[in-house]
């Protein structure tokens, strides 16, 4: 029954000079599920996302996405397979305008010659306009990304993912460092865009987690500590011990 899961992570291990940042981790994500990964600092949350999207090479285990083995693929191939990733610190192209940032993320013309002869037709422009409105940046399309506020950069990066239209969306602390107002707007935005796709989110804001999570995975020292609904996880004595015990 491999069809049940869109993403199967099995026995995933990575060690940096003997230090096991992720240790025999297994978890499964269903289609349209929103999985939240929580855990104390250094638990290996970001590393798990790095492994799935090919940024870090695994030492062992398998990551299967729609039957494809992601560990054998290059970053750009993983993107084309349908996995999108948002980084913890906003990473947008600062020297380019908001429009150009979105244009580069549009899923066409990704080969060398495709890029040279890429035609910015009406379909592309309409799509960029549509995304810009979704991420509250329709008035800033010609602005250089460097001049955006921290929150706006986060939105832009979310927009760059949206325009890719990935089947699996991975978000690393999407509301970190935002003002209260921005945070509320972002939660609204995320609630809208996580429909109709599978999502993995790393987040510390428990209110936000309870709001969006289908299931929660708790990591501790690279291993799975607990998994289940938010209620289940919050009442798990092992989780309470890790978060409050020391």
């Amino acid at each position: 029954m491999p069809e049940r899961f869109i993403l199967s992570v099995e026995d995933l291990t990575v060690s940096f000079d003997g230090f096991k940042a992720v240790d025999h981790l297994s978890f499964y994500v269903e289609p349209n599920e929103c999985r939240v990964i929580i855990g104390p600092n250094g638990a290996g949350k970001t590393t798990v996302l790095d492994l799935i999207c090919g940024r870090t090479k695994a030492t062992g285990g398998t990551v299967k996405f729609k039957g494809m083995n992601l560990l054998d693929m290059r970053e750009d191939q993983i993107v084309h397979a349908g996995v999108g990733r948002k980084f913890q610190t906003p990473s947008v192209y600062e020297d380019l305008s908001v429009f150009e940032n979105l244009e580069l993320s549009y899923p066409k013309g990704h080969g060398v010659f495709g890029a040279i002869f890429f035609n910015q037709d009406q379909v592309v422009q309409d799509r960029i306009q549509e995304i810009a409105e979704t991420i509250f940046l329709a008035d800033q399309l010609d602005e250089k990304a460097a001049y955006l506020s921290h929150g706006q950069k986060q939105w832009l990066e979310i927009g760059m993912l949206l325009i890719q239209d990935p089947e699996l969306l991975m978000l690393d602390e999407p509301v970190a460092g935002m003002s209260v107002a921005e945070r509320k707007k972002t939660a609204e935005l995320l609630n809208r865009i996580i429909q109709d796709r599978s999502v993995i989110v790393i987040e510390h804001d428990m209110g936000f987690v309870a709001d969006i999570a289908t299931r929660v995975t708790v990591l501790h020292r690279g291993e799975m500590l607990s998994e289940g609904s938010m209620d289940h996880v919050q009442n798990d004595p092992k989780v309470v011990e890790v978060y409050l015990g020391h």
Partner: protein
């Protein structure tokens, strides 16, 4: 891509001014000897334009562009040398009909890889393709392994050194340290006359504009914006779904093709090719041309090549020992004081001033509408 996307009015004006300088001002102001000298300077502009794309836009600093300039130049020199080495011209050699330096090195037959250079069509293809293939091999080996930044710069420099040593060492096949000299005719047309030098200057200028227009097209395409994105956030570009290595290889090869054409035009206008134009020092000089002109601007690169070379000729006539120090000082001054070079100086200082002047005269005209002639 629509025409206005390709070139806005300001850029068009820049192109027209440069065209006027190259095709009208310089030929009218200079005698054949000086014009030929400027033609030589402009061959370096081909390299500088390629660097503006690779380094300025894409952040790939190559300290080995002399390799590609040299390969293009040697391809052209081989053709011209074969044409100059007719059996009649070389009757006094022990093996007539082969280039003189081969004869001096006890070679008795033309090496097989020299044979195709009897054909001008093959030579013209080789002028572009030999540098491109070489660049592809270096680029493929480095970029797919994600070697970049300073490491890439050092490796290209090593390649420049290796190629120089190879050329000097294989005297019988390459003419050694003297290079390939005594070039005379191109398909029977004597390239040493004043008339030929004038014509070659214009051919060179026309080719330079072809290269400039290609560079402008690339810069304005999505690939141009991708290069800028790669320069700042290479990792992020991968997660936008691009295979970064392919783009780097492409732009490096394009720069090599430009440099090869420049090298071939150098050979035609100057009349020889030698390893001193291939090695580390000329390669670094080429980076300086680009930096002085402004590494973000392809037109700036042309002015940089012209001005630095003009300074080089002027100063090294007077103070030959001091020139290299002067060049080094110039480079440091540019990097410290105006990192975007002459082009940056223009767009940051001169242009705002001009805009202020223009808007002042316009508002003055608007204030006195009676002064404007009725239409």
């Amino acid at each position: 891509m629509t025409l206005t996307n390709y070139m806005n009015r300001k850029e068009l004006l820049g192109f027209l001014i440069l065209a006027a300088v190259i095709f009208i001002v310089l030929p009218l102001a200079l005698d054949t000897f000086r014009l030929n000298l400027f033609g030589k300077y402009l061959t370096y502009a081909f390299v500088a334009i390629g660097l503006a794309l690779c380094w300025g836009a894409g952040g790939i600093l190559s300290l080995g562009q002399g390799i590609f300039f040299g390969l293009g130049g040697y391809c052209m020199a081989m053709f011209l040398k074969l044409e100059a080495s007719t059996p009649e011209n070389t009757a006094i050699q022990s093996t007539p009909g082969i280039p003189d330096f081969m004869d001096w090195n006890q070679l008795t037959a033309l090496p097989i890889w020299w044979q195709p250079f009897h054909s001008l069509a093959f030579t013209m293809l080789a002028v572009v393709m030999v540098p491109v293939v070489f660049a592809f091999i270096i680029g493929f080996a480095m970029f797919t392994r994600r070697v970049g930044g300073v490491y890439f710069a050092i490796i290209t420099q090593a390649f420049a050194a290796i190629l120089t040593i190879l050329i000097i060492g294989q005297q019988g096949y390459t003419g050694g340290v003297n290079g390939i000299t005594d070039l005379r005719t191109l398909l029977g047309w004597d390239i040493r006359t004043d008339e030929a030098k004038n014509i070659l200057y214009f051919v060179n200028g026309a080719l330079l504009f072809v290269v400039l227009l290609i560079a402008q097209f690339v810069r304005k395409s999505k690939l141009g914006r991708l290069l800028i994105a790669m320069r700042d956030q290479e990792d992020r570009v991968r997660f936008s779904g691009y295979n970064v290595a392919n783009f780097k290889i492409f732009i490096f090869c394009l720069g090599a093709a430009f440099a090869g054409v420049g090298g071939a035009m150098f050979t035609l206008q100057v009349g020889f090719m030698s390893p001193t134009l291939v090695g580390i020092v000329p390669s670094i000089e080429m980076v300086i041309f680009c930096a002085v002109g402004g590494r973000l601007s392809i037109l700036g690169a042309v002015y940089g090549a012209l001005l630095v070379n003009l300074a080089k000729t002027t100063f090294s006539e007077g103070f030959p020992e001091l020139w290299l120090l002067g060049l080094g000082g110039l480079f440091i001054a540019v990097v410290m004081a105006f990192p975007n070079g002459l082009a940056g100086l223009w767009s940051e200082k001169v242009e705002p001033l001009l805009n202020r002047l223009i808007s002042k005269t316009q508002s003055a005209e608007a204030a006195n509408p009676n002064k404007a002639p009725a239409e």
